[in-house]
Amino acid sequence: MKILWLACALAIPAAAQTYTIAGVVTDVFRAKPLERAHVTLVGPKSEKAAVITGADGRFSFEVPAGKYTLEAEHNGWRIRFGNPEPTEGFGSAIIAGPGQQTGRLAFRWYAPGAVFGRVVDETGEPVRDAAVQLIRDGVTRGRRQVIPVRNTKTDDRGDYRFGPVAAGTYYVVATGQPWHMRGTLGAALGATGPRPPAPAYPPTYYPGATDSRDAAILTVQSGGEVRADIPLRATTGATVRVRCPGSGLEDEACQGIPTFSLHGIGGVEVHTPEDYDYATHSFSGVAPGRYTLHAVAWVKEAYKEVYKVVDVGPGEFTFDLTMQPPALIAGNVTFKNPLPARAREYIALANETTGASIGGEIAADGTFAMYLGGARFRVGLYGSVPLAIAQLSADGAPVKDGVVDVTESAEVHLKILASDEMGRVKGFAMNGDQPAPAVMVVLAPAAGSGNPADYSGYQTESDGSFDYLRVPVGDYLLFAADRLDLEFTNPDVIRPYLQSATPVHIALRAIVDQRVAVTAAARN
């Protein structure tokens, strides 16, 4: 072990009692100590120390009592102690102090995996410049989400590679156009006679499925590589002409090139055609499927946009994207208690499909207004004072489980009751009479809820402790599960745990101290 420089060195008063945080970093995949790992320890005041491990994988720090974050990095892959992958916010802190067993920590470091493969056409020739997308299907913060995590293009051999990627389950989808159809080449081909329908490669999921229901899931293990070759088969593509009435341009042309989003796994966008003809406002070589078309325009200094879901088959299509003012999402927030004078609070609207979030400031009188395209948005609050949404209702759009379903050009008025009334729950997860580090403690609303925001999870620290600093007042059920990837916001998944859960009542500014026994994972 080599002591590195101490970047804001841990200041240890000469007379202070110190404790040892030490252990071995083990590469779980290779089942041996991790050499040349960069181990960093960050203290309660962001003070930092670092060492580089030797062949024995050992690290050791002498520190005052306190709560520390411990991380190990190797070749750019940083893992927090107690967490199998680099997710921010999870992992177990190290509690150093009297009676704490922090001198012989087993730091399990999970090497990343990779997904790679070759994209070929029906003749076995590599397809270069094919767009390849990696879509993760996994549980993050108690929620199962299917979201694109990485995209790339194939090289001259048709090869692609995603690495490093965290262990987990994934889909891979490839899309592209035959090289001779791209840009001016395609136009030259057409010059031989009446232009034939341009071929297109429909988005194709591994192992060769053009229907997302037939896509195969890839399981990537720590340190493992998964090969996923994708054959593309050209089909007759459509020619799609798009007009934008109300755009203010001649021929009802669109301002800029409209975008196409093909509906795929989990509603994920996978494809935008490349061949746009400025003269006819048409795309050629569009793979058949269901798309959301999107266009925006500034008409007389007013912003307008449109989304339209269309089905495209082989042949020729013309779609009118009638320019409309965007949806207005306005409303007002009532605060249960007056906020401090300098508080700045924001409303967050997170698109449920893409995960993209848009924020808008809440004025001093509690009002806000945002212009957006139609989508399903999850409403949240953030800012200088922690707030919870106690009530949410809307005029002009349906609301369910914290999600408001906004249609195009709708005028939606939200009414939000924001509460800063919080309590605190802390304690220990226990395995019999032993504290249980690195288990998931879950706080679920006693009355049940379909809104994931009403559930929270806490990965216990090295001493088995958990500490929810701010919990909206109310009645809850508390339990601890021995799996970190528990989909704890799903009422069906946690139902078996709730039978033996501990009821907890959180009162304003009260601190509840609670021990909770770890329930073995329900095997099903």
Binding site: G163, P164, A188, T192, G193
Partner: protein, 547 residues
């Protein structure tokens, strides 16, 4: 004379080929190195016609036909009328190529005399791939790798960039579609660029070890690097084993920063040898943190789009360097005027509207193109002044030392100054920080002398040219192109030359000759002395070539 007809695949209108005939053309697309058929190439046949002036106009859409070659490289066109056709093919991974006939006079396909068995040979492109590992053998991912060519362009040595790649998790990188040639590969340290953030959303890098930017084969200078030779259709390797060392951060603030603008940071070791780094920049305050910096002496350069730039020396020595203040100074405009000393020729009316071009000939409207070039950057800054629109401006010029190149036509330059600097004596313009240099004043005399030379061809070369090295203060050596005539001799013709004494050389390979390098010129032998006089054509007979 061979006519080169490379495919013009402009997005022409989509009309059908109207003329239908009884003839056909067929052949195979082949790999020029292996002789193997190339499947699925795009083959284009263009009917070539001449107008009554004997000039070939560009093809009409109706003259172009395209097919995709089959799995054995085979292709055919049917329904053709008699005539001359250009035939070419392309496929990713190959240099686009045309049919080359055995007849040295033409590369046209003559229908119906040649109909079948035509071979189009395409030269395969090459690739360079490699891995980057540290001294312990661990692959280094997310490393920026740059590819350069060090070649001669317009008589001067130029470093051309072929882009960058970022290594994957196995430390691998790959460049493809490379023409045969010699390349230089440089590992540039970790890739990242500038992350501009608002509020507290800073990005956190794990910056604890890295390496000094280095060329393949070692060295921080392209002249000392080992070239990687790429041959047609081959893959060359460039594997790096680089000693990683501790790296530190440079923290500082940009002065005169316009909030929320993109800024590019460059770290130049010893004022040269640029490498990559990862930077997080606070878009409201201009405070920045640069990661991955090994100990050393640097010039830190920040460039805010085309607007402003600043340099500051930074020493990193065993720890983070804090409190760097980097002042951005605005780019300036270099302006100037072209003065014409003498009467301008009258603009002749175009003879035929069909052949009217925007350029009515340099004689009618003398012009000068002014180019500013830095020693290290491959990009050029240019401005052009015409006799009838005499002022020019080169915008967005950052501080530095520039070589000034004057390319003039329709006359010759007798004087070029910027303040007290004589740009004909020493073509260097120094631009101070934030201050425009004195305007460039060019004086040009319309007309000038001409030269005509003849060389009996002794070998084949397609970049043969006549080099005229003036023995007096001028805008530099003049290159005169040649053309082979029917008698097997090579004729040269150049005009708008400054009157005076020159030494003329015939260059066998002008494209690869560094004639703007004075040291190279000094070593030239075998020249012919010539005198050029105003409004006269000097005739010379040339005997040998400079290889």
């Amino acid at each position: 004379m061979r006519t080169v007809w490379l495919s013009i695949l402009a997005p022409l209108a989509l009309a059908a080929l109207t003329s239908q005939g009884d003839y056909s053309v067929a052949g195979t697309v082949k790999n020029s190195i292996t002789g193997e058929p190339i499947k699925g190439a795009m083959v284009v046949l263009i009917r070539v016609s001449e107008n009554d002036m004997g000039i070939r106009p560009g093809p009409e859409p109706a003259d172009i036909r395209t097919v995709m070659a089959g799995s054995s490289g085979e292709f055919s066109f049917t329904g053709l009328t008699k005539g001359q056709y250009a035939l070419n093919a392309q496929k990713p991974g190959f240099v686009p190529g045309q049919y080359v006939s055995e007849d040295p006079e033409t590369d046209m396909v003559d229908v119906p005399s040649s109909e079948g068995g035509l071979a189009i040979k395409l030269t395969p492109l090459g690739a360079i791939e490699g891995t980057i590992a540290n001294q312990y053998g661990d692959p280094l991912r997310n490393v920026s790798v740059a590819l350069f060519e060090n070649n001669i362009s317009d008589g001067a040595r130029t470093i051309t960039s072929h882009g960058t790649r970022v290594t994957n998790d196995l430390g691998q990188f790959r460049f493809w579609d490379l023409q045969p040639g010699k390349y230089f590969v440089k590992a540039m340290n970790r890739a990242g660029g500038t992350y501009t953030f608002a509020g507290t959303n800073s990005i956190r890098y794990d910056s604890w070890e890295g390496f000094r930017p280095v060329y393949f084969g070692g060295g921080t200078d392209i002249e000392a690097a080992t070239p990687v030779a790429v041959e047609a259709g081959t893959q060359a390797r460039a594997d790096f084993k680089l000693p990683v060392e501790a790296t530190y951060k440079i923290r500082g603030t940009l002065e005169n920063y316009t909030p929320d603008q993109t800024v590019t940071f460059e770290l130049l070791e010893g004022g040269d040898n640029p490498g990559d780094c990862r930077v997080s920049l606070n878009g409201s305050t201009g405070r920045f943190v640069i990661d991955d910096v090994p100990a050393g002496q640097y010039t830190l350069r920040a460039t805010q789009q085309h607007v402003s730039r600043g340099d500051v020396p930074v020493t990193v020595n065993g720890g983070d360097t804090n409190g760097v203040s980097l002042g951005l100074a605005p780019a300036v405009s270099v302006s100037g005027t072209l003065h014409i000393d003498g009467p301008l020729p009258e603009i002749a009316a175009p003879r035929s509207t069909q052949w009217a071009t925007p350029f009515r000939g340099a004689g009618a409207n003398p012009f000068c193109q002014v180019t500013l070039q830095t020693a290290n950057e491959s990009f050029l800054l240019m401005g052009t002044a015409h006799a009838r629109q005499a002022e020019f401006t080169i915008p967005n010029v950052f501080p530095g030392r520039y070589t000034v190149r004057l390319n003039c036509n329709g006359g010759y330059v007798v004087s070029a100054v910027s303040g007290s600097s004589d740009l004909l004596a020493e073509p260097v313009l120094t631009v101070p920080s934030g201050v425009a240099p004195p305007p460039i004043e060019l004086v040009m005399k319309p007309g000038g002398g001409a030269i005509r030379g003849k060389l009996t061809v002794s070998s084949s070369s397609n970049s043969r040219a006549l080099l005229l090295v003036p023995a007096f203060r001028s805008t530099g050596p003049v290159l005169v192109g040649g053309m082979e005539d029917d008698n097997g001799t090579l004729g040269f013709r150049g005009e708008y030359l400054a009157p005076g004494d020159y030494v003329a050389y015939t260059l066998a390979d002008a494209a690869n000759f560094e004639y703007r390098n004075p040291a190279v010129l000094r070593n030239l032998t075998g020249g012919t002395s010539v005198r050029i006089e105003d409004n006269k054509t000097t005739e010379i007979a040339l005997t040998g070539e400079v290889k």
